[in-house]
Subunit: 343 residues, 4 copies
Amino acid sequence: MTTDTPMQLGMVGLGRMGANLVRRLMRDGHRCVVYDLDTDAVDEMEQEGATAASSLHDLADRLEQPRNVWLMLPAGVVQPTLDQLATLLAAGDAVVDGGNSYYRDDIARAGQLAPAGIHYVDCGTSGGVWGLERGYCLMIGGEDEPVARLDPIFRSIAPGTGDAAPTPGRTRTDGTAPEGYLHCGPSGAGHFVKMVHNGVEYGMMAAIGEGLGIIKHADAGLRSRTVDAETAPLREPEAYQYEIDVAEVAEVWRRGSVVGSWLVDLVADALARSPGLDAYTGRVSDSGEGRWTVLAAVDESVPAPVITSALFERYQSRELGRFTGQVLSAMRGEFGGHAEKAG
Amino acid sequence: MTTDTPMQLGMVGLGRMGANLVRRLMRDGHRCVVYDLDTDAVDEMEQEGATAASSLHDLADRLEQPRNVWLMLPAGVVQPTLDQLATLLAAGDAVVDGGNSYYRDDIARAGQLAPAGIHYVDCGTSGGVWGLERGYCLMIGGEDEPVARLDPIFRSIAPGTGDAAPTPGRTRTDGTAPEGYLHCGPSGAGHFVKMVHNGVEYGMMAAIGEGLGIIKHADAGLRSRTVDAETAPLREPEAYQYEIDVAEVAEVWRRGSVVGSWLVDLVADALARSPGLDAYTGRVSDSGEGRWTVLAAVDESVPAPVITSALFERYQSRELGRFTGQVLSAMRGEFGGHAEKAG
Amino acid sequence: MTTDTPMQLGMVGLGRMGANLVRRLMRDGHRCVVYDLDTDAVDEMEQEGATAASSLHDLADRLEQPRNVWLMLPAGVVQPTLDQLATLLAAGDAVVDGGNSYYRDDIARAGQLAPAGIHYVDCGTSGGVWGLERGYCLMIGGEDEPVARLDPIFRSIAPGTGDAAPTPGRTRTDGTAPEGYLHCGPSGAGHFVKMVHNGVEYGMMAAIGEGLGIIKHADAGLRSRTVDAETAPLREPEAYQYEIDVAEVAEVWRRGSVVGSWLVDLVADALARSPGLDAYTGRVSDSGEGRWTVLAAVDESVPAPVITSALFERYQSRELGRFTGQVLSAMRGEFGGHAEKAG
Amino acid sequence: MTTDTPMQLGMVGLGRMGANLVRRLMRDGHRCVVYDLDTDAVDEMEQEGATAASSLHDLADRLEQPRNVWLMLPAGVVQPTLDQLATLLAAGDAVVDGGNSYYRDDIARAGQLAPAGIHYVDCGTSGGVWGLERGYCLMIGGEDEPVARLDPIFRSIAPGTGDAAPTPGRTRTDGTAPEGYLHCGPSGAGHFVKMVHNGVEYGMMAAIGEGLGIIKHADAGLRSRTVDAETAPLREPEAYQYEIDVAEVAEVWRRGSVVGSWLVDLVADALARSPGLDAYTGRVSDSGEGRWTVLAAVDESVPAPVITSALFERYQSRELGRFTGQVLSAMRGEFGGHAEKAG
């Protein structure tokens, strides 16, 4: 499929996501000028049909005005890149930050570029390594004009309606949400919604992880437990005698169940490949959005115990509560003469 | 599509789920004998092709041996029904409890029927009001023989492979999980997995609910807040100036995003019908499985903060923590002379 | 008891805490110049021996240099007061903010005053309405010189060693912590520690409140529960047949138990006065420090599920999660046809 | 001080708590017959004035009727001891279980002994290794007659009124709660209240531990953090530049603060002895009551997020959520190509 209104876009950052965005855009007939510090990545995209740029300056030169530049960069390098771009772009140009920036930075950056007439658009991009095939869900913030101008770009990157049946109760016929992209509001609104999206993701992932953990340990009554003063014995071991195939449970939940979801699809795949998930230690990273979601909930006075528990569960998995545990053990030692023990 | 091996099944309980199970079975050529205290429900199914029974006794009479009887009843009436059935059935017959029984009751019930040679199969059934169309995800516990015998029944009720793409990493070619039904283990294993499934459902629902709440309240900086000694003012109201269309956010998350799921589909539908969800007060019921999941986690020594938070969030929504709150307010009154205030 | 080194202090803000600080200071022989917008409050303190000031300007005039001014004000009016004071004070003067300011504001304010040579000291003050009698626990931040200079003031306000037996394992003989006041670090450190103190307070209060709630509801098996599809019946009502006198439980916990604490003393008092706590609705306020503690935990990567749960429990008590609950009920309506119900 | 009504008591179990109970009782003039499998422990108590018994049979022989026997045993050996005692005791005798039994076992055990006319009293005993000096807080369940008969025993074990000032608002002049012991209700009520007491203890300990952890990590901005795609950098390192003496904070909180408590006293002591708590790894045990408190909260429909978070925090500290973490990391690997990393 080729879009009716091919556009030209500059892409800065050709990591996995940036490269795949370019591929999706070129499939639809858009022309891409690409730049990355890694010249191999630039070469690869050039071979696939993109126009190579040797520097940000060169990228700006190769774009027709008004320019449209998409940044797909680690959060930490967005600001210096933007500072440099600000000197290369002109009034009417637009920059899209498609990474995982904090929405408060978007507000500041839009304010930084506004006096020069440069538009700043923030675009939360979900889809991960599968986006090339499935399309990316886009949550967009910024002024109306540049967002409208970039509509063909967003439309090509987004999944389109194909992936999911229409929502039965939906009566409005306008709006791009059924295509998989949405202009959420002014500067920062896109990354705000993406931030919360990731907070929801943390909670959903944790719910699935905990549930599968409970199923895996349904054999607790089969394993002997030391009886001592420190640990309560399992009162009813006869109720925990199940050795359940967790991988098959994930597989069956994919079909017809209330928890059916892409995340369950993914965990079914991971468990099919390795039922014991032995390649993983269980130390779970977190990368900002979960934290920011909690901060927003606290500020807004919205209770968010589930999302917050999911965040702290990740912290715990990395043993970040060690001092707290030491304090508890020390208190137990003080009042009860309890010694620490394993397990 | 008609199954190759049509069977006869007795269905006790013709509420929405029982009736739809019968419909799905008859579509596949199975013969159903149906019974319910509500004779109108029986009449309706008879008109659709089922054989009506006027009593449990009559139902037993109309079934060929070995009989297969499926109970689709509220949890509270399973046991008395089973007690009566035990006097009507014979060695080799099988009873399936397709409702939401506690898995520990399954273990006891299987033990109650075993001396008479009657098989007891527990079958957790997920799919809700949509199951007629989508099929029901089945999680099954019990002995191998009756579960194998009932395979054509389970296959007809389950969604089949059609609903979801094959799991890429799956190499095993046996197993019914890709069809949407799974024999999870001995008695109780089916309801155990269904119980945890619902616990996961609680957590996923809460994650989505909290996230949409945070997005809805992204306008917190636009609403004036009283400044007094009891409530901290919003420090950075300029960061909470968004009026975001929550219904459209749910719609866009349906496509290509990591949180894509049937639950997001449903909430998008509900919000499309009523953006303010005004028909709901926010008092959220819970019906057993969430509680039991938490009890299992505690017993098994598996941390489940997310699922548990989701359960308690439901309790809170029904103001079940009122006395706790009174104690806190009383303490605040004692040490700080703080009076309670609204909001 | 009169201190050996009486000092002069200006007190701005004569609410309950400010007035009681002045009383404690005058008992020890310190001379206080007092100011408040409420002239009645000023008159009352004048009758008790303080020197009245009619304005901040007048207060500054009446203080010998280097001046020491203590602000005991609602968080919202500290900054404007400080802005005005900055024009009235001189190099070498010191201002103490004894209220509940956010520690980040302290850092900014110290920076604001530093160019003029005015010292800024932040002092978290715990003790509530009982401080006049018990003394106030002080957590202090700021430069060494002004904190050292104000030592006689802090010593008079703090409880002194009398309240608690010496810590057996303590070998260091320096330090003021056993007197009930502590210089915690540079600007903001005092309010940082006080902030976390209040976070701990939230957690301890919630633990006590939840526990007493569980004891109060130990009669759950005596109350009939509706059996329906929405609510699980209590499985073992025979285990919840206790009608326990919660007030007496709080009283007995005051003596010799591991949970013995001032908070248990206070709740025992509140329950002795009103066993049903009928004057309280259970809507629990929060006033900033709990929120900030959570933000700090998230920033520092320290898991704080207990303190955070306590914060959100307060939000929940004020029904701030209503939209989340509506979303959950809407989902339940969509997938299960469940209607909301009370209780 | 010698009580007016010295009694005779048999003590079974001479661990630290049992031995100290005997010592407290003998100080008050009570006569104790003691038994333990460890004959050294029996010899030691004999030298301190107790009467030694060589077996349960011998103990029963040496007690005057109606006998009063106190069990101070690990939870796992109460039942077999009781089974044996049931054959040695007579109608009118009373057995007190002073350990940490589950209250549901108490109900069963009282029922087991009732036909023989033997009274069963459950007594939750708080005070730990400090009880000899401070007295033990006693929470008692059982019939009125044996509890009344044992009053002099309870009174001697309990702390008495000396430890704490009278509750100001208390007007009732009857009741033993101000003495530190309380008859809470029928069989099991004592251990029920003790169970919840320990749940509260879990919550309070966790609040203190988390708070001190947050204070310890107030130096987060001083430590360099790797900037990569997996971990969000600390946005405002300048706000986390404090190196706070945690031991001194615990010490200062002991005096006049709202969080003043025995637990803070204990942690101040532990930190005074070892500021880094290096003897502890942070793996925190749990021993039954916390779990049972959560089960009771779930059953009673009382939200208990704080106590439950404290329980799960202990589970987490022992890495019991490892599989859950592996599932999360596996999902992250699937959708984002994220690798696990340390810290």
